[in-house]
């Protein structure tokens, strides 16, 4: 089997963090791949919720959008979107929420709104979506984000969703009920919050990546944990399940749609 790509490394690393039976609030892209990979490997009873209202979905191919028909077809049931946010997320029923962003800071706060000033942005990003409340209410969140000094920044242009704020227990004193970002899975490795200061620290690297490379990819002086592990390489079962999933997905998304008029 060919060597794993960075996307595959991130996806497999995230999938491994998901315990069987946990309730996940899934975002599109790598998080969706990670959650479904977990379901197809070690966590068959993981419960996947997409914000479109599909609960307990078991898609055979990955959705492109968060509301593809595949998600509804394979769901235990479908609820109106307001209920997903009020009765499930806000109610504290979600164990793990996944978040992505354009920018992250050293305390896991995220920006997915604008680069530049809000009213005259250099780059207008898609915006908040479910993120602010996933960040607040999921019992914990995992962030998946590729690193560059433009994405891992010393100061966010806009705080779309709260991580540990300024650290040192600030989040615990806020109205947020979840424990915040417990892992940031990037393409160099994994950051986790320092137990006291809550600053993100490098705790694991993918094989072949050095701490110096990780530091260079991050726009602040990166805190190193006392012990930095090497993330075990994806095994054949993981890689082949993921590649088969992605292959099925690409095939499905290229199916021509014909409207029966």
């Amino acid at each position: 089997m060919s060597e794993a790509t960075r996307d595959e490394l991130m996806t497999v690393a995230a999938a491994r963090m998901l315990a069987n039976g946990c309730v996940c609030f899934v975002g599109i892209g790598l998080p969706s791949a990670a959650c479904n990979l977990a379901r197809l490997t070690h966590a068959p009873d993981i419960v996947l919720i997409y914000e479109s209202g599909t609960i307990g979905t078991r898609p055979d191919v990955l959705p492109l959008s968060i509301g593809d028909g595949e998600l509804a077809e394979t769901a235990s049931f479908v609820v109106p979107l307001p209920e997903v946010f009020s009765h499930y997320l806000q109610a504290g029923r979600v164990d793990v929420g996944f978040l992505g962003a354009a920018q992250i800071d050293r305390f896991g706060n995220l920006n997915s709104t604008v680069i530049g000033p809000y009213h005259l942005p250099h780059t207008r990003l898609p915006g908040a979506g479910g993120a602010p409340e996933i960040a607040a209410h999921a019992k914990q969140t995992f962030v998946m984000l590729k690193a560059s000094p433009r994405s891992f920044v010393a100061k966010l242009d806009f705080r779309t969703s709260a991580g540990f704020l300024a650290g040192d227990g600030a989040r615990g004193r806020s109205q947020a009920r979840g424990r915040g970002p417990q892992a940031v899975i990037s393409d160099f490795g994994i950051l986790t919050p320092h137990p006291e200061t809550e600053e993100l620290q490098l705790t694991a690297l993918f094989a072949g990546v050095t701490a110096e490379q990780a530091q260079a990819a991050v726009g602040w002086p990166l805190l190193l944990a006392e012990q930095i592990d090497i993330v075990p390489a994806p095994d054949d079962a993981e890689l082949s399940a993921l590649r088969a999933l992605n292959a099925r997905t690409q095939l499905a998304h290229r199916q021509p749609v014909r409207i029966p008029l």
């Binding site: 599109i28 914000e51 479109s52 209202g53 599909t54 959705p63 492109l64 959008s65 968060i66 509301g67 593809d68 028909g69 998600l71 509804a72 479908v78 109106p80 979107l81 307001p82 946010f85 009020s86 997320l89 806000q90 709104t113 809000y118 009213h119 005259l120 942005p121 250099h122 780059t123 207008r124 990003l125 898609p126 915006g127 908040a128 979506g129 479910g130 993120a131 602010p132 409340e133 607040a136 209410h137 806009f158 705080r159 779309t160 969703s161 709260a162 806020s174 109205q175 947020a176 009920r177 499905a252 998304h253 290229r254 199916q255 021509p256 749609v257 014909r258 409207i259 029966p260 008029l261």
Partner: protein
């Protein structure tokens, strides 16, 4: 009895310049045909409302229909940016666009308040984010029993909500099957509700606990097969994920966008002609 109208009649009657208009449907059942007809009728200064503007509002914004946008996530799902939306916000092209920006949870609460005719909705939301500082329509309310502070958003009550659904009966009762998003709340919150449907049947299948909008809350029903394409109608046709990916290149460039809109929307007279121009119609 909700009148059955043609799409052009329904847009002419219910969507006037300057109106607040919500085309809802979360990924599923997005009323594209209605959006295209609004573009054809060259409506202006609309206050567009949608949780996820999606391609349909990218098109309407790019064609200059909108002056204001209430939304909570403005991307091309799984693909990237809405380039026309970005161009309007970043460069004021073709006109500037005022933003009323929320999170999904906040906008859902606003629609629910609208449907219930409450003046505001509340949530545990927007906690320690920068959104409230940039949107005066995100406020606070205090629990009269515990003193807790919660986020508050004004109710959304569009002048008109337009939905797409699988079917209606001849009386105008509408049944939705599958992902429903905030469509029901957006529909019940509106002053007028127009629904385009894949088919009109003599009798709806038994609903019991299903999602139904009764005829006496529906202003008009429009028979419009394929009216959600390139979004989808569960049980009728799938989402054209490939089209969503191809849209990225079309919308990136003002010229390519204008040409596409000219050819496929302005120069087609209705949804059937639009679909034929894209060769999506089943032989």
């Amino acid at each position: 009895m909700s009148p059955a109208l043609s799409l052009s009649e329904a847009i002419e009657r219910f969507v006037v310049d300057g109106a607040s208009v919500a085309l809802e449907g979360f990924t599923h059942l997005i009323p594209f045909a209605a959006g295209h007809e609004i573009i054809r009728q060259r409506r202006r200064n609309l206050h567009l409302i949608r949780m996820t503007p999606d391609l349909i509002y990218d098109q309407m914004i790019g064609m200059g229909c909108a002056r204001r946008l209430t939304f909570s996530w403005g991307g091309n799902p799984g693909v990237g940016s809405l380039h026309r939306l970005r161009d309007a916000v970043e460069h004021g092209w073709p006109t500037s666009l005022e933003l009323d920006e929320h999170s999904h949870a906040g906008m859902a609460a606003a629609y629910c308040a609208g449907a219930a005719r409450l003046p505001f909705g509340m949530l545990r939301g927007y906690i320690d984010t920068d959104l409230p500082a940039h949107n005066p329509r995100i406020g606070r309310v205090e629990c009269p029993f515990t003193g807790e502070q919660l986020a508050a958003v004004p109710a959304i009550n569009p002048d008109v909500t337009i939905l797409h659904a699988q079917r209606a009966d001849r009386a105008g009762n509408v049944a939705i099957h599958g992902i429903v998003g905030a469509a029901r709340e957006a529909g019940l919150a509106a002053k007028n509700l127009v629904v385009t449907v894949e088919e009109i049947v003599d009798e709806l299948p038994p609903a019991m606990n299903g999602v139904v909008l009764p005829y006496w809350v529906v202003s008009a029903v429009v028979h419009c097969p394929g009216g959600a394409y390139p979004s989808y109608a569960h049980g009728c046709y799938a989402r054209d994920n490939d089209f969503y990916q191809r849209w990225d290149a079309i919308a990136r460039d003002r010229g390519a966008f204008n040409e596409w809109m000219q050819r496929h929307v302005l120069e087609t007279e209705d949804q059937r002609a639009f679909l034929a121009s894209l060769e999506t119609v089943a032989a």
